[in-house]
């Protein structure tokens, strides 16, 4: 973490909370999708709003085309999650199976995958921090859009945010997708309090 938002102890504890949550989520995900799901160690950083686009670029690759699903979480810790998929990942649908041809299958799948991944990890975090968490329905922020243009037209009303980055990969597949949790500065205090209670 690149500033003084958290003490070393707080940082370690938060990292551990996410590690445990991810580990538990991985099991359920594998059972649900009937596929092994590889998850990276969550990376926790503090970013400034003007760093966001550059950070996405670095993460996903300059000039990549992506589809992004957005979802709000709230009730105690408040923020938004972004699930970022490469546009050419159209075969997620075939990988995960779908029975209905009249539906926009790929959109349906990325929404469902995003909801499950974002929910599974964050539920585990909330459980350890002994708080509640609720989720809005996920919605598609953009489709097949240049990574540089994902946030065009947005005026960020936040300065700092806690960002947690997790990389996912389904077995036998080379392409990854990304889960990013953003917790704006107001909510970081709540996390710190919860962590302190945990360290108690």
């Amino acid at each position: 973490m690149n500033n003084n938002y958290f003490s070393a102890d707080q940082k370690d504890a938060l990292q551990e909370v996410f590690n445990i949550a991810i580990g538990q989520a991985g099991d359920s995900l594998a059972r649900y999708f009937d596929l092994f799901v590889e998850l990276s160690v969550p990376e926790i950083i503090i970013i400034k709003s003007d760093q966001l686009v550059g950070l996405l670029n670095g993460l996903i690759g300059h000039e990549s085309r992506v589809s992004v699903v957005r979802q709000s979480f709230f009730n105690h810790i408040q923020g938004e999650s972004l699930s970022v998929f490469h546009s050419n990942d159209g075969d997620l649908a075939t990988l995960l199976g779908n029975d209905c041809s009249t539906v926009d299958v790929n959109d349906d799948i990325i929404l469902d995958v995003s909801n499950i991944l974002a929910g599974a990890c964050l539920k585990g975090v909330a459980h350890q921090l002994e708080t509640e968490i609720s989720f809005s329905p996920p919605d598609i922020l953009c489709k097949d859009t240049l990574i540089e243009e994902v946030f065009d037209g947005f005026n960020f009303a936040w300065d700092y945010a806690l960002l947690v980055r997790i990389i996912f990969r389904f077995e036998d597949r080379t392409s990854s997708f990304y889960l990013l949790y953003f917790v704006p500065s107001q909510s970081i205090e709540l996390i710190k309090k919860s962590i302190d209670r945990l360290l108690g």
Binding site: Y32, D99, T102, D104, D108, I116
Partner: protein
Amino acid sequence: MMPKDKLSLLNSIVERINVGVLVIDSEMNIILWNVFMEIYSGRKASEVLGKNLFDCFPELPVAWMKKKIEGVFLFENNSFSSWKQRPYVFNFRHNRPLTGHIDHMRQDCVFQPIKNQTGKVEKVCITVSDMTDHFIYESKLIEAMSSLKSLSRIDGLTGIFNRGHFERCLIEEWKRAKRYKEDLSYFLLDLDFFKKVNDTYGHMAGDEMLRLTARIIMREIREIDIAGRYGGEEFAVILPHTDQQGAVAVAERIRQTVSEYIFKYEDQKIRMTLSTGVSFFRQDMNKYEEMIAEADLALYQSKENGRNCVTCFDPSLDSKE
């Protein structure tokens, strides 16, 4: 335990709320079915309670829904379905028989876990929200956007392409002809003595005449041809994949139809004619404007030759200048 009166209050809210509420157990048996669900499914709670959801409604997307419900049990978390991706889950009619132009109620569904006292998920509650109005508003918005887009291409008076859009088409066709070495023809049409019509019969008559000319042009050109109003009483046509002979045939047909037409305006019969200049794409051209300039010269020649005729560009015309 909750006091009885509060329980009965909650019960009547769930029953009467304008959202479908149903609850199923892990065997997919229906254990709650509110009034909304009764009304739209046409099935009374008494008919479906205790029965398997998919036996009662075999038209449901079974595999998808089972997976969804399995996820709710497994992750102990909400799952969602939006009308934007899946127009409806339950095959319900909507309540806009007059103003709705679609078959089924658009729906957003939420699948939420219901835990027992030990914290284990035992049931799933499914809520069904009617999103038909949203769907209709969004359709209207999309229609409005697309008609705005088309309005920006259309000449208000005649209803054919305006000059801006027409020139964009010409640039595209010119590039295509250049790249693939294809034939391309172009002609300009100008109504003869149009100013006199305006002066004698008034601008209303002139406008009617422009509309009529546009209609005749649209009727006589082929499906692949593109026509536009170039300005004033001048029109232009792009003819892709068309050589000199083909272009002249089309131009001649328009000239003849217009000249034979008896235009009636407030009990007066008005005859009109037009002059046409035709040009052809050559590989040695560097700019599309050259085609326009050559058609312009040929048109000038038609006027010189007494009007009501079709003239093809001839390089010797150029040198006469």
